[in-house]
């Protein structure tokens, strides 16, 4: 589904990603871990098409399409969803209104007719249960004055509404207490099918207790330096990242 080959990207001339290779198949959950500043979030942003990140080398194919050729909205309509680490506030625009615009633009792209207000609301009601989100929250201005947990739940709610093929969760666990973490993870798990895939970007192993990955990759200094099963995450939790750094240093020297 997603094939990343030798991906290099930089921000303001500073190289951040230095040759990422990753294959993601339908039905899989991949965890991307790594120390701060290793390039985890950059990878998420590059996949979503954030403008500040310049791809200098490599290729990304998504469902056979050259992803890097697409604008951010085209990527979203094709089914790439990014749950933001820091969801953005839009004053005066309710989540409901925002999502109705989004859902209908995505539907239009997929050749489906726009949902009228009644159908849209019933879809919302159905998805709201997944992340135990309150309707009152959805009629408030998008993310404005939301708590950290509410923001993250709202991200997963949007994920549920847009039904993407590839979901990228960028540090979704940051700022979440244990209850919120469970609710969010629960939502993600329920949305999992044999046809979609999830990339979980995280610093801690904690989230992976709830969203169990098929593969764990460690990014360090812009490259995936180690891949393994869920056990790798546990090992990292136990030993920290230093041993990986040393291992990498060893191979380079």
């Amino acid at each position: 589904m997603l094939s990343i080959k030798n991906l290099h990207a930089s921000v303001e001339g500073t190289p951040i990603l230095k040759g990422i290779n990753l294959e993601v198949n339908p039905g899989e959950v991949h965890a991307i871990m790594g120390p701060n500043g290793s390039g985890k979030s950059t990878l998420a942003s590059v996949l979503a098409g954030r403008e500040e990140y310049e791809v200098t080398e490599g290729a990304v194919s998504f469902k056979g399409i050259d992803l890097l050729e697409l604008s951010p909205e085209e990527r979203a309509r094709e089914g790439v969803f990014l749950a933001f680490q820091y969801p953005v506030e839009i004053p005066g625009v309710s989540t409901t209104n925002f999502l109705r615009t989004a859902v209908n633009q995505v539907r239009e792209h997929r050749g489906l007719e726009a949902l009228d207000a009644v159908k849209f609301l019933s879809l919302m009601k159905e998805k709201m249960k997944l992340v135990e989100i309150d309707q009152k929250l959805l009629s408030r201005s998008l993310n404005e004055g939301f708590s950290g947990g509410e923001k993250k739940r709202n991200e997963i709610f949007q994920l549920a509404m847009l039904e993407p093929t590839l979901s990228i969760l960028d540090e979704t666990d940051s700022g979440l207490d244990i209850d919120a973490l469970r609710i969010v993870a629960n939502g993600v798990n329920q949305l999992k099918t044999a046809n979609n895939a999830t990339i979980v970007v995280t610093h801690y192993q904690r989230l992976l207790d709830y969203i169990v990955p098929d593969y764990v990759h460690v990014i360090f200094n812009g490259r995936i330096v180690k891949s393994g099963s869920k056990d790798l995450a546990l090992e990292l939790e136990e030993k920290g990242y230093d041993w990986i750094k040393e291992e990498v240093a060893g191979t380079v020297l």
């Binding site: 909205e73 839009i90 999502l99 633009q105």
Partner: protein, 481 residues
């Protein structure tokens, strides 16, 4: 009339007979402004003498005034002698059919959702369509007149209800008020008149939309609204489609007179031609709008959505004379490309327990400059006056400017005045967030801007609000990314 005036009359009439006045038949005055032109306009409109006198006084006042330079707008000096002050539509200039109309303009209409028939009317294409819209006005007029409501053109009011016009004209905005008000008073071509009798709640929104377009009144219209005790009216003014205009100058006057317990809601969606992307052309919009809450418990509410004009100079104001009277001002002013707007309000608290509320939302894009200028004045006897002002600015891009000039003048220590101001930028983060959900950049901007302006848009009557929303999106199209 005194001897002196007679002599003056004779002399100036002579000038009127000769000289400047050449083509009476073409429905257009000669270029420039002098007393003769004022007389010519008045004669053309077959006005009574008292109105001519009033115009002449205004003209003489204007002559002695100088153009204001205090607004935060910059433009080449206007040559007032190079302007034609009265011009009925020239038939040969009008497009014969929609095929002759600028296709770009038609495309804009289409996106605004304006019907073909309406497009034709806006372009002044076919006479029957114009007649059609006149008949619409007449239908309303009949049902309104059953309630005693008078809603007609200003010229008609002068003929049919001279006593009312005479009593109220210039009582809220005297011709001595300012340079452009004086100019308007001297040369106004037509406008609207509205009278709501005691205890009557006007059952429909009154709109100048139809009539002004149909009558093709010029750039100096004048509106007078009188609301008797316990009455209510919601009044809409606007040109909701982009208009190209060969004449650059637009100086209108609106006067509202609200008596005891009367409420007047005045909504404007202004979308005059703002000039092109390089800042060429566009309307200079110098407008004086003012209402007086003459009686106790009266309420006047201004709502404006300003998206057009190259230059906007406009401060819809309320004089809170009656005790417990209320004044409101809700504004969204958008500037893009090279547009400049200096707009705001004045709330003059004279009565006791008077309240005013100001919500101003400026949006600047391109290389435009957007200024809020507002005065809150509390007079000595205005015990317990309360004002709340909120002035927000939204910036798009890094070449535009937003400015706020609040003036507060308080002479009573029991008053309470609050002022809040914010400045924000449409962030790339916000746009990217929308994009990432599949929303195009244009729609993202529309969404963000409408969210920002929501508090003001909510004040507009439903169908007007929808058009205003579309207009905001259209005005800002292409200003990001």
């Amino acid at each position: 009339m005194s001897k002196d005036n007679e002599i003056l009359e004779e002399l100036t009439s002579k000038e009127y007979e000769h000289g400047w006045f050449v083509d009476y038949e073409t429905d257009e005055s000669a270029t420039g402004l002098n007393e003769g032109i004022v007389r010519w306009i008045s004669a053309k409109k077959e006005e009574p003498e008292w109105l001519l006198d009033w115009r002449l006084k205004a003209f003489r006042t204007w002559e002695a005034m100088t153009e204001p330079t205090w607004p935060n707008v910059h433009y080449p000096k206007i040559d007032f002698q190079a302007v034609k002050y009265y011009s009925a539509p020239k038939q040969d200039n009008k497009p014969k059919s929609l095929k002759d109309v600028d296709p770009e303009l038609l495309q804009i209409y289409e996106r605004l959702g304006i019907s073909l028939k309406e497009q034709q009317r806006l372009q002044g294409v076919a006479v029957d369509v114009v007649l059609d819209s006149v008949s619409v006005g007449t239908t309303f007029k009949e049902s309104l007149s059953k309630l005693g409501i008078i809603f007609c053109s200003f010229s008609e009011a002068v003929t049919e209800h001279p006593e009312l016009v005479k009593q109220y004209l210039g009582t809220v905005v005297p011709y001595t008020d300012n340079y452009y008000a004086a100019l308007n008073s001297a040369v106004f071509s037509d406008g609207s008149f509205c009278y709501i009798p005691k205890g009557v709640r006007c059952p429909m929104e009154l709109s100048t939309y139809f009539r002004i377009n149909a009558a093709n009144t010029g750039q100096f219209e004048r509106t007078l609204i009188i609301a008797e005790d316990d009455s209510y009216v919601s009044y809409l003014e606007g040109c909701t489609a982009p208009q190209r205009d060969e004449n650059q100058l637009h100086a209108a006057v609106v006067e509202i007179y609200a008596k005891k317990n009367a409420e007047v809601k005045y909504s404007t969606v202004q979308n005059w031609f703002p000039g092109d992307k390089d800042g060429k052309g566009g309307i200079y919009n110098f407008v004086t709008k003012r209402g007086i809450c003459a009686g106790d418990y009266a309420k006047i509410s201004w709502t404006q959505v300003e998206t057009g004009s190259a230059i906007t100079w406009k401060y819809p104001s309320v004089i809170l004379k009656g005790d417990y009277s209320i004044g409101e001002f809700y504004s969204v002013a958008v500037t893009n490309n090279f547009q400049q707007a200096d707009t705001g309000t004045k709330m003059i608290h004279l009565g006791k327990n008077t309240k005013s509320r100001i919500v101003s939302k400026g949006i600047s894009a391109g290389r435009s400059q957007n200024s809020y200028r507002g005065l809150v004045q509390v007079a000595k006897r205005a015990t317990n006056a309360v004002n709340f002002s909120q002035c927000d600015s939204l910036l798009m891009g890094d070449q535009c400017g937003a400015h706020t000039f609040p003036y507060i003048d308080i002479h009573n220590s029991t008053s309470r005045v609050e002022h809040e101001a914010t400045t924000s930028k449409i962030g790339e983060d916000q746009i990217f967030y929308c994009n990432q959900r599949g929303i195009s950049t244009e729609d993202a901007v529309a969404l963000i801007v409408n969210g920002y302006a929501k508090e003001v848009l909510n004040q507009l009557p439903m169908e007007f609000a929808v058009e205003a929303q579309k207009l905001l999106a259209l005005t800002l199209e292409g200003s990001v990314g």
